[in-house]
């Protein structure tokens, strides 16, 4: 990260103080303007990033607003025990796992495929138009996207049911059917993210040596063969890195889309850790219990990230670090 350019060496390159403390003091003095500039950033990270980490100790306490984080009574692992013993635990675990897994497995190939296909387009204007359109969903808010989905799937006026009716099927109220929840969620996620996730793969494809294609063309390779034997292997390192990142984040199923798309009839499949934390903590003001669930979720997510990184390195690939 820190290569030293000759032009950024100290202004006073004269004497170098000997003792460590004196050295530090002179360093601080030299950098005092920079340190002043850095103060707002420091306050922000201490208050809003490390503060909540410290606040997590309420997961081991019975938080009361009056006694504050530090003054509240310690209860050890009580909240965790209660959570693991509750029937909610396995339901949430299963829902979070399956929603994350299906999003990963189904969602992962589409941006790659899209990027490869886009790369095959010869007319630059067409390619650009399609790509520009493909980002559009990622610019729309979750609320708008969810609203569109609800409208589209509505049994009374939705386009999907209108088509079903035309084809002679009975209309279905998809959003109240637990068996459809995950499918809808995954499809929406693919629709939202395919375009911008393809950007990374397109950049990787652009980095492939063009002489490889020329040589293959001379050898009479078809375009499909070139896609399979040049493009795909060429972006394999990127695919692997993305896969580690994604599987590391598998358990981080966001609450926003679930909150907007689920309803009491689909709680049994839609409720995930993050929505549970929101409901228990902010709606039922069960702060300590919700913080415990949140901490458990974070720990699982972190373990997943470390695990996928470890597996990838063991398999001989590059890890993230």
């Amino acid at each position: 990260m820190g290569t030293i350019h000759p032009d950024v060496l100290h202004r006073q390159t004269g004497r170098v103080p000997r003792s460590g403390l004196a050295k530090m003091a002179s360093h601080i003095k030299k950098d005092r303007q920079l340190l002043i500039l850095f103060i707002p950033c420091m306050i922000f990270y201490v208050l809003f990033r490390y503060g909540p980490l410290y606040g997590l100790i309420i997961a081991f306490k019975d938080y009361s607003v009056y006694q504050g984080v530090w003054g509240s009574e310690w209860v050890g692992f009580e909240h965790f025990r209660r959570f693991f013993d509750s029937p909610d635990f396995w339901v949430l675990f299963k829902n979070t796992f399956l929603l994350g897994l299906f999003t990963l497995l189904w969602g992962f190939p589409f941006p790659i495929l899209f990027a490869i296909l886009l790369n095959e387009v010869r007319r630059a204007a067409f390619k650009k138009t399609v790509q520009t359109f493909s980002y559009l969903p990622s610019f729309l808010s979750v609320v708008i996207v969810s609203s569109m989905i609800i409208d589209f799937l509505s049994p009374t006026h939705g386009v999907v049911n209108e088509v079903l009716k035309q084809l002679g099927f009975a209309p279905k109220y998809f959003l109240t059917m637990p068996e459809w929840f995950r499918t809808i969620y995954v499809l929406v996620t693919i629709w939202q993210t395919m375009g911008y996730e393809a950007i990374i793969y397109l950049a990787a494809i652009a980095g492939i040596d063009p002489t490889l294609y020329e040589a293959a063309k001379v050898d009479g390779a078809t375009r499909l063969q070139m896609m399979r034997h040049i493009t795909l292997p060429g972006i394999m390192p990127t695919i692997l890195i993305m896969f580690i990142l994604k599987s590391g984040a598998m358990f981080r199923v966001g609450y926003e889309k679930v909150l907007l798309l689920y309803n009491p009839m689909t709680y049994e499949v839609g409720d995930v850790f993050s929505t549970y934390v929101y409901r228990k903590g902010l709606l039922e003001t069960n702060y300590s219990y919700a913080a415990a669930v949140g901490l458990f979720e974070s720990v699982i997510a972190l373990v997943m990230l470390l695990l996928s990184n470890f597996v990838s390195r063991k398999a001989g690939g590059k890890g993230l670090w």
Binding site: V69, V130, F139, I199, N263
Partner: protein, 291 residues
Amino acid sequence: MVKKRRNKVQFSVFDLLLTVVLVLVAAVTVYPVIYVVAISFSDTASIVQNKVFLLPKGFNLNAYKAVLQDVRVPRAYLNTILYTTLGTAINLLMSAVAAYPLSRPNFFGRKFFLVAIVLTMFLNGGIIPTYLIVQKLHLIDTVWALVLPNAIWTIELLILKNFYESMSGSLRESAVIDGASEYRILLQIVIPLAKPALASIGLFYFMGHWNSFFLPMIYLNDPHLYPLQVVLKDMLISDQARETALMDKAALTPQAMKNATIFLSMVPVLMVYPFAQKYFAKGIMLGSEKG
């Protein structure tokens, strides 16, 4: 000659399939937006009879008139504009200033600060402890609850830091020789030169604020303070609840009105879109290269 023709045939079959698939993809990504626009300009009769698919039927502006007369939407629109402007300005200011010391190779404690900052991407307290801090600081029901807890996005900060590092140092060097302070160097040299990067991360901040619904939902209790997304969510969720309970359709927010609100909330996004998507791609690439 013969060989060339055969090549061309293979080429066009492949190309035809490719074009068909990609046109379908483009259609699927854009269709919902077209549908929203079509519904918002259509008359109630056509909507109820499910006649609207692509173009407005019975074109009229009633829905937009109704939206503008509804007290909630114009107020929410103004709130959203205020929150987005203030939020993006603070984000950009904080990032532009904070990235500068971090980009200096010999900055005191640079390694330590960088590690501490990057760590927060993997470790965070989650919504409950954050909520309690915002509560403790008495920010609930104020704009600051939306602005301060996310005043810096770590990824954007790192992108900007990398951009500062990649800038040529010669201008800075001559400023140093002239005895300029770090504040002047940042303000008069670094920030003006970093405009493209600031535009790129500014876009992400802007989109984040404009589209944010969860934070306003948990931090704002007073309906007068609601931004557009929360009002939209209320229309949507309450309608869904009513429809689930199979209440009569008359109680629902009229389709056209809901879609008019959606379209109005998309207008600024669609307006910046043609310019933004270039920066958008760049921002994503920069973000993915940080490792």
